[in-house]
C-alpha cells in the first residue's frame, strides 16, 4: 500500500511533498505529542495529527514516516510545507476529526 492509495481512498488533500506519494505505508500512528511520536511511531507509518508546525516534519524525516495527515481541515504552516517538499514526505489533509479518520484508516490498513 502506498500513500497514493490512501489519498485516493479517502479523497485527501495533498498540500505538499507530492513526490513522496509512492512511499510505502506500513501502519499508522495518532498523536499530537511530538515526544510520543518520536519515541513510539514506527518507520513507514502515516501520522495523523493536528500539529502543523515545522517540527512535525523534522520528526517525520528522522523517523522515516510515510506521510502526515492533518485533521479538521488544518493546513500546514509554510515552513512545514517547504520541508515536506524538500524531504519528499507528503503532508495531506482531511476535514474529518482524528477519531473518525483514524478509525477508517485503521480498517483500511488492517483490511489489506
Amino acid at each position: 500500500m502506498t500513500v497514493k492509495d490512501i489519498v485516493e481512498k479517502f479523497g485527501l488533500k495533498v498540500y505538499s511533498g507530492a513526490s513522496g506519494l509512492g512511499r510505502e505505508v506500513k501502519g499508522g500512528y495518532c498523536s499530537d505529542l511530538l515526544s510520543d511520536v518520536m519515541g513510539f511511531a514506527h518507520e513507514g507509518s502515516v501520522l495523523v495529527t493536528l500539529q502543523a508546525h515545522k517540527n512535525v516534519m523534522a520528526i517525520a524525516s528522522l523517523k522515516d514516516l510515510a506521510a502526515i495527515v492533518l485533521v479538521k481541515g488544518i493546513k500546514p504552516e509554510e515552513e512545514t510545507a517547504d520541508a515536506s517538499e524538500a524531504e519528499g514526505i507528503p503532508v495531506l489533509g482531511t476535514s474529518e476529526q482524528c477519531f473518525e479518520f483514524s478509525g477508517k484508516l485503521y480498517d483500511y490498513i488492517e483490511g489489506k
Partner: protein, 137 residues
C-alpha cells in the same frame, strides 16, 4: 570522527538539525538501522531540550569503531532535581513549548530508553551536560 554542532535556545525552526546530520552519517558508514533509530530518538530529545530550556549549547559526537558518544553541553538554568526530571510525565516546559507538542515529560525517559548509557550532570544557574553512549552492536 568528531562532529560538532551549535544549538541556540528558542530556535525551534532548526531543532533536529544535528540529529538529521548524524543520522545521515551513521547511515553512510553502514551502522545497523535499529541502532540509528535509537540514537536519533535520544539525540533529538536532547537537542530539543537545549532549544526548549537552555540559552545555547554545543553538541559533540564522537563516532568510534564500537559506538557513538554524544555530549550535549549547555549554558542554561540547569536541572535542580534530576531524579524528578527523569520521571515520565514531569515537565517544566513553558506553555508555548507545550502548545507545540513538546513538554509532556517524555524527553528524558525517551533518552534513557534509547541509549546504552545516559549521564546527566547539572549545575543550577550554569547549565547541564548530558553524555549518552550507544553501542553499534
Amino acid at each position: 570522527m568528531t562532529l560538532q554542532f551549535n544549538v541556540e535556545g528558542g530556535d525551534f525552526a532548526r531543532a533536529g538539525y544535528a540529529s538529521s546530520q548524524i543520522k545521515k552519517i551513521l547511515k553512510e558508514i553502514g551502522v545497523d538501522p535499529d541502532v540509528i533509530k535509537h540514537v536519533v530518538v535520544a539525540l533529538y530529545e536532547a537537542e530539543v531540550n537545549i532549544v526548549a530550556h537552555a540559552y545555547h549549547g554545543v553538541i559533540t559526537a564522537d563516532i568510534e569503531k564500537e559506538g557513538i558518544r554524544i555530549v550535549l553541553d549547555d549554558a542554561g538554568p540547569g536541572i535542580p532535581d534530576i531524579p524528578r526530571a527523569m520521571e515520565r510525565g514531569y515537565s517544566t516546559a513553558s506553555p508555548e513549548v507545550r502548545e507545540m507538542g513538546f513538554g509532556a515529560g517524555m524527553g528524558l525517559p525517551n533518552m534513557k530508553d534509547n541509549t546504552d548509557s545516559l549521564d546527566i550532570e547539572s549545575v543550577v544557574g550554569k547549565g547541564t551536560k548530558v553524555t549518552m553512549y550507544n553501542k553499534f552492536e
